[in-house]
Amino acid sequence: MGRYVIRRLLQMIPVFFGATLLIFLMVNVMGDPIAGLCGDRQCDPATAAQLRSEFGLDKPVWQQYLTYMGNVFTGDFGTAFNGQKVTELMATAFPITIRLTVVAIVFEVVIGISLGVVTGLRRGRPVDTTVLILTLVVISIPTFVTGLLLQLLLGVEWGIIKPSVSPEAPFNELLVPGLVLASVSLAYVTRLTRTSIAENARADYVRTAVAKGLPGRRVVIRHLLRNSLIPVVTFIGTDVGALMGGAIVTERIFNIHGVGYQLYQGILRQNSQTVVGFVTILVLVFLAANLIVDLLYAVLDPRIRYA
């Protein structure tokens, strides 16, 4: 397994460079970021030139990329246009988004898998049909609609939560935003678990377990669920990265100053340093999450071996 992990880690290197290069090029084709810094008037040419050389924008793109990557390996992610170090921005934004993601994942795991097990075992019954319809509704409604609706109802009309999250973003304030962020994935987790459970419920080993006289709970959790979780774990694993990067909508609605917000601002201001820096970290998160998922397979199903 050690060799497998090392091989996977080595494979990450080209993916990492490719992804960052792509992002770098994409941000660069958007035009001259300095032009937007002076508002609706033109920057005076001397100051613009000075700023351009300070941010290294006067050099060819490949050279900018090389310098940038060189700096990244020394832990220097550059400076945002407002004079803040990008690492400083990351230090405030990532903990908040990680907290939000944790809340979302917990919702997905707890609610999604429980509902999946319940419906999978009661296929065709009213519970199953109700949950199926509900998940379909959740999947078909865009996140910003659920977000704004919950914000209006819970925050303004009923006053249960504050409509906006404070800058510190503690866990309790992130419950509703986390649920909103998780909603669509949650529905998918439910459906995946349901199908997988329903399929495996007729498997020989389950029949054997029941025939042995094991208690129902043990059969479901130890034998049935464990084997059915592989597709679900794959989904949740890739979802970690997707949730962190895709939180832009949710973070905007609930005023959360996390990764999504910083990325949005970075893109609006065409601040390549911020955008590339944040995306680089997100790429790493994605890769790490995928590796962990692959390693978890063996835990769930010991028949899976790595060479």
């Binding site: 035009g31 004079g83 800058p167």
Partner: protein, 543 residues
Amino acid sequence: MRGATQAKWAACAVVVALAATACGGGGSSGGGGGANGIVSSSWGDPQNPLEPANTNEVQGGKVLDMIFRGLKKYDPKTGAATDMLAEKIESKDNQNFTITVKDGWTFSNGEKITAKSFVDAWNYGAQLKNNQKNAYFFGYIDGYDEVHPESGSATATTLSGLEVVNDRTFTVKLSQKFSLWPDTLGYPAFAPLPKAFFTDHAAWVSKPIGNGPYTVDKYTKGSSMNLRKWDKYPGDDKAQNGGIDLKVYTDNNTAYTDLTAGNLDLVDDVPASQLKNVKADLGDRYINTPAGIIQTLAFPFYDKKWDTPGGIKVRQGLSMAINRRQITDQIFQKTRTPASDWTSPVLGADGGFKEGLCGAPCEYNAANAKKLIQEGGGIPGGQLKISYNGDTGSHKEWVDAVCNSINKVMGNNKACVGAPVGTFADFRSQVSQQKLTGAWRAGWQMDYPLIQNFLQPVYYTDASSNDGKWSNEQFDGLVDKANAESDKAKAVTTFQDAEKVLVAQMPVIPLWYQNGSAGYSENITDVSLNQFSVPVYEQIKVK
């Protein structure tokens, strides 16, 4: 690994998560009422580091307005420039000025404000190596070219036109006559700076020290700033509340929602999508007052297609084809006023605003419009493309409406189309690099309430914001004449004569004046917006 151990792991993870929830709690507590009450207000993340000569947008300007006072201050109601730190500003020839600073003013750290505090600050602002985005404000001062050359490196570090005479007096020599120059000194770029700014710049930027009615208590970059009343403030515009908490919002819709839920006291940017509900939600607590902003349509005069003799008629025709009243009523819910000159109502009649100066060319007249456009040889290229940035503001809505109005007049569905550009930065870079070949949305937010500021930087030959590269000798001559005029009233009428050249030539089409809009909670009173559409924070009272 066997099952039992995994269950333990999972349990541990849950415990950790729960423990973290417990630690994460605790919100901010509201302030008391009366003169010590704290006002919470919406804010946006300032785009540039907070330095007086480096802040050119509203969000950073807001803070500077609270923590700095300069030689002059613009009256929030009338816009008139009145003396603040200036005891007197004297000049015999409108080119050499002697400025005396009032006695008894200090920075909030106790340092005395002297003539040197101003001269050092201005020299810093003008220097090329400091990257100050408002450096051009010092461009009128003699010696600016050496400190801030257009290319190459600076040959001097201080402006030769500035000289400290004694502790309280300094002289300024301008490179040209400019009678209204003292009135520009209310702009934050001209604020004095304490020694701490130069000795420990990083510390200053993370917690600015100024001389205004408020001091910065706590600043968390990108999320909030807590400003508190400065008890020893010597000015007569002392804060009427205990302080202001500025909170950064990711979206102004969220700020508005927070206001309606009672979590926020003041929103100074009511989102366009809420304008329909705002009366019902807030009633009298909604403010909608004129601001020094005009929106226009600009044309590329660097493109030969547009710089033709017939072009004047085409542009006048296009102007007449736009139904301004209908668009401001329906799309902007009357938060904008159809423009009939090139300035803004906030200047007042004395300051140079003249309603109807443009006359017929700015009034909707479908029949004449079509005739004029056809006489002028039709729209160059057969189609008018209006470029705008699609990322912020509700530009798409009004550009589509303007095109719709033009298309109706022309009886051609393709006579005018909107051409969105992805981001503001990209839009601005296309404008400034002269890549646009059609019209584009333009606008001008004043730096100071002077008619000069609405005309010279935008339409004078090669001026800093003359993006369309329009040039007219008669106009330039009148502006020069107005600047040399020592009598203010005469200067204003000469500027209006220059504006009449714009009527005859129509280099840009004036569309509408923009209002500032704000809403506030039941906790506070005495809320108003100044001409820059920034709330007058120090006057707000907490119930």
